[in-house]
Symmetry: C2
Subunit: 332 residues, 2 copies
């Protein structure tokens, strides 16, 4: 049953790629515009969000080929939201690379990157209306709004030492959980799931998103790749306090030392020694363990949502995905 | 009849402002986000695009108050597209001021400006779906796509001396005409105009847009405000060749001298003397006169569209608007 689901999903993911190519077609303006879109098409991400959408949709009644095709199209649209947000995020982060490849802004300049992101958003809007996705269109607007607020909220928190765990959670809801929510909920709605099932899949998406972002933040914190010339604790260097650090700061002594290191980061005096110090302080004060426990709590909540769903072959695929993504030490 | 229409329009424009405030509501995240949206609300532009939409809609059958309210909401959405594009354009132009007020990016930084523009776009998408604007939603996507391509096209042309009049026209279609088209066409469709009337109003919008942008480019070229400390010929200084210059360059001798001045602009050696020279060359070679003639041609085409429309009190208001906007010397 699980194998059958995986094979089906694989076939559908190929259709998602086909639609992505269609949406990222060169408008024929010559020059850099077409190159940017081609880069996007070739960026071969993990396509996690369309996969979530297609998996969620299997709890619905839409196994008719025409409905499956519509769901693949919708999966491509969710991935496009992710792509547009990456382009705009890279402008803000001034990031030179993403997944080892130059970012749009570093290759073509910030100006081109602003419009390339907007162009992708415009194609999403065109398709949502022309293909009649009236039931889920507003959810796309909600996700983009949340993503903006998450990024804006994170910018507000940058460099400050009085950030709360609540603010952190609010920011990562926008940065990551909102789009995972969209993927699962849109898949549920468009495939005709009952409202009850929709609500469970929505919870699955949200909790998966929290787990996924906390994992990402843990990896940034603990990964030990300095020998490869890659900096660790990029978040902290940029003045962003993530969950392990925020938990560590609940201890007054740790707080004092971390505040000093944050000051060093502000002054550009955060090197390998400081990174080691920070890791030691955060581990000793239990910040790492607490953050890892939270990650597991969100994974557990996502699993609970799966258990309440009608039994289906895709449930095992969901469980496996959750288990794979919840591992930090192995991946780090 | 004209006075009656103007009074009605004035009342509706007040409702547009009310909806704008609603769309620009503070998401309650504290900090700069709310300030950016408040600045937008207080930016008191001319609201030309909602005005075009409401004027166009009077040729339809929607005089029922509920329909008028929907049209005001749609007018606000068209203005929001304009606002979002201004925010993103200012990032690219690095502009410190707009209409005498600091731009979002100069006040809050480029990073905030990227997301503030995206946030406005997300609110547009939410409303287009939640308020059921299914007939015109895709047109919003088309306009945003055209606007991106216009700006990207202009960037491609920047600093080059082989730009053609066709490329210029294609760029200003995206920069200005596409949104005027959206305003008139969406007003026509949503108010239930016949397809024939829709097509005429679409032409009215497109030609109005071309006229409006050529006028803007002429004003930038001929306005004489150096004594106020404001630079003239900003387009040329930034390496953008507008219609008067492109026509002047059809004369080989003028072309040679203008290419030299463009080189000076590239090297940052374009001062008051060069600006005076450029103006003299472009005037002497007939570039100014040809561009002004084109502007009048587009105004004439817009007028022709009005004449083919069913007779209506708003026609006189349209004619007056066209005449007011087609004057360059008085406004300059």
């Amino acid at each position: 049953m699980r194998r059958y689901e995986e094979k089906e999903l694989q076939q559908e993911m190929e259709l998602v790629e086909k639609y992505l190519s269609e949406y990222l077609r060169d408008p024929g303006y010559g020059g850099a515009v077409g190159n940017i879109l081609r880069d996007m098409e070739n960026s071969k991400g993990k396509r996690l969000r369309p996969r979530l959408l297609l998996m969620a949709s299997r709890y619905g009644k839409g196994l008719d080929p025409a409905v499956r095709e519509r769901l693949c199209r919708l999966g491509a649209l969710v991935e496009l939201v992710h792509m547009a947000s990456l382009i705009h995020d890279d402008i803000v982060d001034d990031a030179p690379l993403r997944r080892g490849l130059p970012t749009t802004q570093s290759k073509y300049g910030k100006d081109m990157a602003v419009y390339a992101g907007d162009l992708i958003l415009s194609r999403i809007v065109q398709s949502l209306f022309r293909d009649g996705f009236y039931q889920v269109g507003a959810l796309f607007g909600d996700a983009v709004e949340s993503m903006c607020l998450g990024e804006l909220g994170q910018m507000e928190c940058r460099g400050r030492d009085d950030v709360t765990v609540e603010q952190y959670l609010r920011n990562i809801y926008g940065k990551t959980a909102a789009l995972c929510r969209l993927a699962c909920l849109a898949g549920a709605v468009e495939s005709g799931c009952s409202e009850e099932v929709q609500a469970q899949l929505e919870q699955l998406g949200i909790n998966f998103g929290y787990m996924f972002q906390i994992r990402d933040d843990l990896l940034d914190f603990i990964s030990d790749t300095e020998e490869e010339g890659k900096l660790t604790q990029m978040d902290f260097r940029e003045g962003i306090l993530t969950l392990p650090v925020l938990y560590a700061m609940q201890d007054q002594q740790a707080r004092k030392r971390i505040t000093g290191l944050l000051q060093a980061a502000r002054e550009g005096a955060f090197g390998a020694d400081q990174a080691r110090d920070l890791k030691t302080i955060v581990a000793a004060s239990g910040g790492l363990a607490k953050a890892a426990a939270d990650m597991e709590m969100y994974a557990e909540r996502a699993l609970q949502a799966i258990e309440t769903l009608p039994d289906h072959g895709v449930s095992a695929v969901f469980r496996e995905l959750l288990q794979a993504k919840c591992k930090v030490s192995a991946a780090g």
